[in-house]
């Protein structure tokens, strides 16, 4: 195996250029190095001007999502040797505006996330004296897979619908809405349904399925959205068949 590998890194310096260019860096190709290690090597030893986000280096924080050879990846979990002999093309996540080099603007997602109310909604909180809201293991298991989302945005980068229609709420926000809908302590599913059973919400999804494929935490946003569609359709039928039934 070659002991060095070439990185082709997208550079975008808004004060100097109007569109991204590529810059090549030759870095060591150690078998235990991930793409993020190589980028840090560039930053520390070769070119201190390269900008990218990272934090935990262990697939928990969701900061280091980038496009590696065209695929959305967590660069802390993507080994260089899998791309030997190279080159390895590193670009910012697709479908997001690029601020600088490999850093994208996540403001759109942050606003959409708030719109789905990703917190426990209670009509009335029970008094503290009555103790905590208890759950069975099955009730926990119902929402736990969706709670594993780390907001890494790989699903948005893989979703062509989000690329074509930026108003689409998108996979992670919809999966997180479902995480709270399925929580036995939550009472906010009706409120969320009104916000999400819309063209920009679940009905915008045409089930490409790539969000689930690229998810590093096996969250299955595509499944969450399809379940949401079924719930929304059943809700609509109930309202038509039993308009007096109360929502």
């Amino acid at each position: 195996m070659a002991d060095r590998i070439t990185l082709q890194v997208a550079r975008y310096r808004p004060e100097e250029e109007s569109a991204p260019t590529f810059q090549e860096y030759e870095v060591p190709c150690h078998k235990d190095w991930v793409v993020l290690d190589a980028l840090n090597h560039v930053k520390d030893r070769i070119d201190g001007t390269l900008s990218f986000r990272w934090s935990c280096r262990m697939g928990v924080c969701g900061s280091c999502g980038m496009s590696v050879n065209g695929e959305p990846k967590l660069t802390c979990a993507t080994f260089l040797t899998d791309y030997a002999p190279g080159p390895v093309r590193v670009e910012p996540l697709r479908n997001f505006p690029v601020i600088r080099d490999l850093i994208v603007d996540l403001g759109d997602f942050m606003r959409k996330l708030v719109s789905v109310k990703p917190w426990l909604v209670r009509k009335e909180e029970k008094p503290l004296a009555e103790g905590e809201y208890r759950q069975t293991p099955d009730e926990l298991e119902a929402f736990k897979p969706f709670s594993m989302c780390i907001n890494c945005m790989l699903c948005y980068a893989a979703c062509p619908i989000y690329g074509l229609d930026p108003k689409f709420v998108g996979p992670a926000a919809l999966a997180l809405a479902q995480r709270y809908n399925l929580d036995s302590r939550d009472q906010g599913s009706k409120e969320r349904m009104e916000a999400l059973s819309t063209h920009e919400g679940v009905w915008g999804c045409t089930f490409v399925g790539e969000c689930t494929t690229v998810c590093p935490k096996n969250v299955d946003p595509a499944g969450a959205i399809q379940r949401y569609k079924l719930d929304a359709a059943l809700d609509w039928v109930k309202n038509v068949v039993m308009p007096w039934g109360g929502r």
Partner: protein, 136 residues
């Protein structure tokens, strides 16, 4: 687009989406094929309505319909339609386990069983229709 970015950040770069984005990845291509299949599903409905209409108008109309259906372009169109309608049905059945979470005895029914029961129902209903049509 101004809604997309954080306010006051004006100099970001946004890559334009290519017209041919759906050729960039196999799963995108399959997705577009599935979307296109809806056109052929619609054609199946039109073809069946024409058949029912001709049967309702008597033998003359029905024979004319058969002659029209035997034209090479109609036969080719129907062969292509068959491919797309089967593709549409298969992708629809494969979607079922994603949308339906069925639990039995406190355990989630495996997706393969949900999809499998859809395929089984498809086979049984098709067999019943074939039996009825062939005068069984």
């Amino acid at each position: 687009m101004s809604e997309m970015a954080t306010p006051h950040h004006a100099r970001w770069y946004r890559e334009p989406t290519s017209t041919y984005w759906w050729l960039g990845r196999w799963s995108y291509f399959v997705f577009i094929l599935r979307e296109v299949s809806s056109v052929f599903v619609a054609w199946t409905v039109v073809f069946l309505l024409k058949l029912v209409n001709s049967v309702a108008h008597g033998d003359g109309w029905y024979q004319a319909f058969l002659r029209w259906s035997a034209q090479p372009w109609v036969v080719i169109l129907n062969i292509v339609t068959l491919f797309f309608v089967v593709f549409h049905a298969v992708t629809w059945f494969n979607l079922a386990p994603k949308a339906m979470v069925v639990t039995m005895g406190g355990r989630r029914v495996p997706g393969a069983l949900i999809a499998g029961s859809n395929y089984a129902a498809w086979a049984v209903i098709s067999a019943l229709i074939a039996w009825g049509l062939l005068g069984g």
